[in-house]
């Protein structure tokens, strides 16, 4: 029942917002909708926490420790993003960067996007997962091009085409999976359900499944933003409105990784080798290294942080590929803390670029003095994302490193190199932006305090203390997918 509410709220909100359009209350309705979604998400989590995994809607939905925590995270970050975007988008509207239709579109599509992601996470059917993933892409394509500038249209086109091609590969992988499953489970929808597939994974044809995994890896890997299929990501993140960058980076990448991890578990169960894990480790490590070195060369602030997202998704993919209880636990924690930290960074970045009316890092200066919350928020956000203790990302990266030293010692230097380069690059770029004098063109703006502070405090708390229920969740989830 709660599960249905969770899915219906954003869908209904999308329809309502499509009618409300550019009226004064639209941002507030958007916040209200997201808050209701979050409440439903927490309710669902409590239910799963008490009664364990559950099936709903005639096996159509499936909730366990792994996807429920992502569902809560998704609804939480979308709520804070809605709060952030209230002021941000109004200001964009006043500056004339977005028109009347644009605002209507923005709010409706924002809710539809959240619906698509939640459907992805909660569905039990691999085919529906694919459809929802494509829906998530389609609902954000036109949001990326919202400003209608030539670069924004180019970025959106690239996003549309590359993710379209990528996700088609995933559909081919799904067809192959269905082919193998149908032999064991019989025809019809039953053969596409995660719950059924996981039960019989031992008797699925290993050759077909490893072939399917290659397609699924490339397909969902494109959406995760793994190198070398990452080209769309920096463009889409830098050209779209900032709230969209925050949810793309903080949420959509996680959801795609979720799909990939579920597929990996299935393939591992069938092949009894570490084949799928190795592929994921390779892609993960390559992403970490390429993204870390690309960070050094960036001039656009949002572009830089989107490379940082590629790096962190690489770390999480690497962790899940490595497998084992510690690395998987680290990967799960990493997805959580990265989402929180990265979206808070995008919030401060959005404010900073509105204060300076530019996204060029050379022109952004004196944030500490100009607006302490933005300056310090960005500083702490970067400290968190770079993996400084005591923030949560340090904990997760430390866990992943420990597991790497134990299980794949040869790869440790590469991992460390990537982390060190990213660390140095981020600080070198952020230092001049936050310190120094206030330039004449900087304007003081009222900012949204709550989202930034809330996220940073959460990341901080997760670094020093992991609540019992969360670690219990992660242990159960790690058990499911190790």
């Amino acid at each position: 029942m709660i599960l249905l509410t969770l899915l219906l709220v954003p869908l209904v909100a999308a329809v309502i917002l499509a009618f409300v359009g550019d009226r004064r209350l639209a941002p507030e309705i958007n916040i209200l909708g997201s808050a209701a979604t979050f409440a439903a998400g927490v309710g669902l989590a409590l239910q799963v926490y008490e009664n364990g995994p559950m099936l709903a809607g005639g096996k159509f939905f499936f909730v366990d420790a792994f996807n429920v925590y992502l569902a809560v995270l998704t609804s939480f970050v979308s709520m804070t993003t809605a709060i952030f975007s209230r002021r941000y988008m109004r200001r964009e509207r006043e500056h004339g960067r977005v028109g009347h239709l644009g605002m209507r579109f923005y709010h409706a599509m924002f809710q539809l996007f959240i619906f698509a992601m939640l459907l992805c996470l909660l569905t039990n059917n691999i085919g529906v997962l694919w459809i929802a993933m494509e829906l998530a892409t389609l609902s954000t394509v036109l949001l990326v091009s919202l400003y209608r500038t030539p670069t924004a249209i180019e970025a959106a086109w690239k996003y549309f085409i590359l993710c379209g091609v990528g996700i088609s590969q995933a559909l081919f992988g799904t067809v192959l999976l269905y082919f193998a499953a149908e032999k064991v489970l019989g025809e019809g929808g039953e053969a596409l359900l995660w719950t059924n597939l996981n039960q019989v994974s031992g008797s699925l044809e290993p050759t077909v499944l490893s072939l399917a995994f290659v397609f699924l890896m490339v397909g969902y890997g494109t959406k995760v933003g793994l190198v070398p299929m990452h080209n769309w990501l920096p463009d889409a993140h830098s050209e779209g409105p900032t709230p969209i960058s925050a949810v793309l980076s903080g949420l959509l990448l996680n959801v795609a990784l979720y799909a990939l991890v579920r597929c990996k578990v299935l393939v591992d169960g069938s092949t009894h080798t570490h084949h799928a894990g190795n592929i994921m480790m390779g892609f993960g490590l390559l992403s970490i290294l390429v993204a870390a070195f690309s960070l050094l060369r960036q001039k656009d602030i949002k572009r830089m942080f989107s490379y940082s997202s590629i790096e962190h998704m690489g770390i999480a993919t690497f962790a899940f590929g490595l497998g084992g209880p510690i690395a998987t636990f680290g990967g799960l924690l990493h997805m959580l803390v990265h989402s929180l930290a990265k979206s808070s960074i995008f919030f401060t970045v959005g404010h900073a670029s509105q204060m300076h009316r530019t996204q060029e890092m050379d022109k952004i200066k004196g944030l500490f003095k100009g607006n302490p919350l933005v300056g310090w928020g960005m500083m702490f956000g970067v400290m968190a994302i770079a993996g400084m203790p005591p923030f949560g990302i340090f904990t997760s990266e430390f866990l992943i490193l420990t597991a790497t030293i134990k299980d794949a010692p040869m790869l440790t230097p590469f991992l460390l190199l990537g982390l060190a380069v990213a660390f140095a690059a981020l600080f070198r770029k952020v230092q001049p932006m936050v310190s120094g004098e206030i330039p004449s063109y900087q304007k003081f703006l009222k900012v949204a305090h709550v989202p930034v502070l809330l996220h940073l405090i959460l990341v901080f708390i997760l670094g020093i203390y992991l609540p019992d229920f969360l670690s219990k969740w992660f242990h159960t989830a790690a058990e499911l997918i190790k």
Binding site: G127, I131, V175, F179, E182, E239, K299
Partner: protein, 221 residues
Amino acid sequence: MNIEIAIKLTSFLAAFVLLTAFGMLVQRRMYGLVNLFAWQGFFLSINTAIVGFVAGKHHLYISSALTLMLKVILLPYILHVLIRRLKLQKEIEVVVNIPMTMLIGIALVIFSYHLTAPVRELSTLVTRSTLAVALATVMIGMLMMITRKHAVTQIIGFLAMENGLFFAATSATYGMPLVVELGVALDVLIAAFIFGIFFFHIHTTFDSLDVEQMERLKEDD
């Protein structure tokens, strides 16, 4: 209809699907491209109906009808309207080195046969031999998107890929469950509306639909 004839017919139609894919790879004219795409959808739709008849899978009739409406009538119609509205028919594309693209296309077909060999051996369906063709269609669609620099051709490549995927589902498993097929069709429909909007945006912003104009977003060194 007995099985023998059905197998021959599906192979025959598969050959036509592949032929239209190659045709699209070399076609220079915009209308020709859209028409070839419509033909591909038509062969696909007939093939799906035959498979549905032979295998006794009635939901394939729905898929077949859906393909006919969406990919043979609606999408080509939208594309025709867009081409006329945006006056694209004069823009005859310059394709880089057609013989080379053809050779790569042939290599992709061979690769597809090799890749799907394990699936073919395991399959007991009458359509098993067409899976390689389906994968080849997907790959050729992708090749078309890479080698062409026009927004409309890229979209047709994208849709041809979707055709290949649909074909793969029919030939590997007699079609995915109906929920999935309907969902995929819905996604294609939404995508069609989005690219329609996009064509206008690109056209008004860049004054052309040549994607090569779009190269402002580059890595700075």
